[in-house]
């Protein structure tokens, strides 16, 4: 039978990597998921617990993919606790992906928002000059710095970590660093994924300099295919119109940066 991409396909976890005390990467084999585009996500079923949207993390082994999850509420904690040999269900991939520009690129990622950024790095052209900004609360929560550097080995690049408390890298919000960089450098493209306030500021800053900027959004998701409506931001559907949107489009959207919807579908402030 042909694979039905909209029904959970059962995958067995083959490896678990602790990235920080609260973030883990779970690796599994799946040809479809191993070759998704940066910005695309899957709906991940943790049997008996819940189903969550997750960006598809790269694996350095071919034919494999991963999820990098921060434990938070019951659902993500359920996924975080999945052990090697246990099964999850994966459907998708869903959503569009970042438009790949060439030249001087700025990637701004916060927390698990780094996941699509890492995949983006695997799509770079040889001449690209890449700056990766990694935002984290404190030293403990920094991850993927080494991975970013190794993926960028062959490119001119910089990986800058900013921690809110200054326990590692630069001190301050990552958006302060964005401000500084876009003032100094003309980037051919700015890509961002992470907490919405971070993305909102990054988009505003890049846009104010006339830079091409795209952000990958997160919203409550049920279907992943544009039926249920739970992921809407203004008139856009994050699952099927996004997750990646152009900055110019987003700044016209009254909800971006300000509201998200809860489980009942009501707008709530960020």
């Amino acid at each position: 039978m042909q694979r039905n991409h909209n029904r959970p396909k059962i995958c067995t976890i083959e490896k678990v990597i602790d990235e920080t005390p609260t973030v883990r990467t779970l690796v599994f084999s799946d040809d479809v998921m191993s070759s998704v585009l940066p910005g695309q996500f899957a709906m991940v079923w943790i049997p008996g617990i819940n189903e969550l949207p997750m960006s598809v993390m790269i694996s350095l082994e071919s034919g494999k993919a991963a999820f990098t999850v921060r434990r938070h509420g019951p659902a993500s904690t359920g996924l975080y606790n999945v052990k090697v040999g246990q099964q999850i269900g994966v459907r998708g991939p869903y959503g569009n992906s970042f438009d790949l520009k060439q030249g001087k690129l700025l990637l701004v990622g916060g927390g698990t928002g780094l996941v699509p950024m890492m995949r983006l790095l695997t799509f770079l052209k040889s001449g690209d000059d890449v700056t990766v900004l990694i935002g984290a609360k404190s030293k403990d929560e920094v991850f993927f710095e080494g991975l970013a550097n190794s993926l960028l080995e062959k490119n001119p690049h910089k990986v800058i970590v900013c921690t809110d408390d200054g326990t590692y890298g630069e001190q301050g919000f990552v958006t302060e660093m964005v401000k500084k960089l876009v003032n100094e450098i003309h980037f051919d493209a700015v890509y961002t994924c992470g907490p919405e306030i971070m993305m909102y500021k990054t988009v505003q800053l890049a846009h104010s300099k006339g830079l091409f900027v795209q952000a990958s959004l997160e919203r409550m998701m049920k279907c992943g295919v544009g039926i249920c409506g739970s992921c809407c931001v203004g008139e856009d559907l994050v699952c099927s119109d996004g997750t990646v949107f152009d900055g110019t489009h987003l700044l016209d959207n009254k909800e971006f940066g300000h509201f998200h919807r809860n489980k009942a579908g009501m707008l709530e402030n960020y």
Binding site: N4, M43, I227, E235, A264, M266
Partner: protein, 303 residues
């Protein structure tokens, strides 16, 4: 002369016959506007309750092998009062407000909330197959249906539609009860109670275990319901269930429907499906020399 897609569902006048079904993308006025621009003749809101409901945990929707979708969203919604506030600014979109509740009082209270909104009709969800005490559990009780329909009809001048489905009593009796109580139109049908089990993990995939089957698999079932209703009752009908092409839409009109609704098809074909169907129906009407949709209505019953 260019044929017209305009249609009348009893007192409800629509420019185009294809509506968005309830529960599909139905939570935001911005999205309603977009769907209307994309060719929908009207949009039905997510079914609203007196208070906000979170619905069931995920998994709540996925597709069935060999076509169709199964869902148990669990009627998550912002509640009628919040929703009414959101659509207060509506000017352009023909909005049909779907309501769900257990007793007449629930519905009366909700109808009050929408007094200041520009809406086209109410649709009473008497047919959700996977939430206790509402939906089908109401629709399966024709006496209760009579009380609810009468109560709503006494509370508003806006047309009232009853949405029926396959439950544990004969849905035609539910239709009869609604017709007796002055209903303005019937929508048929809702999803059909169903289940999918994953053989690897050996459990039902939906968190609620049971859900409702929608999309192409239920089309021939929905079509026979429309044909049966239109053969038995003189009531305007909105056909719903598995419609994804203009041929499907025409089938329902030929069976006696005055308009149609669709939901699942958007999951396969995106919201282009509205315009695709509009275009296909127009071409069909030209080819068959119809000037109005009305002329096609119920023709399959003549054969």
């Amino acid at each position: 002369m260019e044929p017209s897609l305009a249609t009348r569902v009893g007192k409800i006048q629509l420019e185009r016959p294809v509506m968005l079904a309830s529960g599909i993308l139905g939570i935001s006025l911005d999205v309603f506007n977009r769907l209307y621009r994309a060719g929908a003749g009207a949009v039905v809101t997510k079914s609203l309750s007196t208070e906000p409901w979170d619905g069931y945990p995920n998994p709540t929707i996925f597709s069935v092998n060999d076509g169709g979708w199964i869902n148990a969203v669990g009627l998550s919604n912002a509640g009628a009062p919040n929703f009414a506030k959101m659509i207060e600014t509506n000017k352009d979109v023909p909005i049909i407000v779907s309501l769900v509740g257990s007793i007449p009082k629930d519905f009366e209270m909700m109808v009050k909330e929408f007094e200041n909104c520009k809406i086209t009709a109410y649709e009473l969800n008497l047919s959700c197959p996977h939430v206790a005490k509402v939906g089908l559990e109401v629709g399966d009780d024709p006496e209760l249906v009579k009380k609810i329909v009468s109560a709503v009809k006494n509370s508003t001048n806006v047309p009232v539609i009853a949405k029926v489905g396959l439950g544990t009593t004969h849905y035609l009796n539910t239709v009869g009860a609604a017709v007796d109580s002055g209903i303005d139109a019937i929508t048929a049908i809702n999803t059909v109670r169903a289940m999918v089990i994953d053989v690897e993990t050996q459990r039902p995939i939906l968190s609620n275990k049971f859900g409702g089957l929608s999309g192409t698999p239920i089309k021939p079932i929905a079509l026979r319901c429309v044909y049966e209703i239109s053969s038995k009752y003189d009531v305007p009908i909105i056909g719903c269930g598995g419609i994804s092409t203009w041929e499907d839409a025409v089938e329902f009109i030929l069976a006696g429907a005055s308009a149609i609704q669709l939901g699942s098809a958007i999951g396969e074909n995106s919201i282009h499906v509205f315009n695709d169907i509009n275009k296909g129906m127009l071409e069909y009407m030209k080819r068959k020399n119809y000037s109005k949709l009305e002329e096609m209505k119920g023709l399959a019953k003549k054969s």
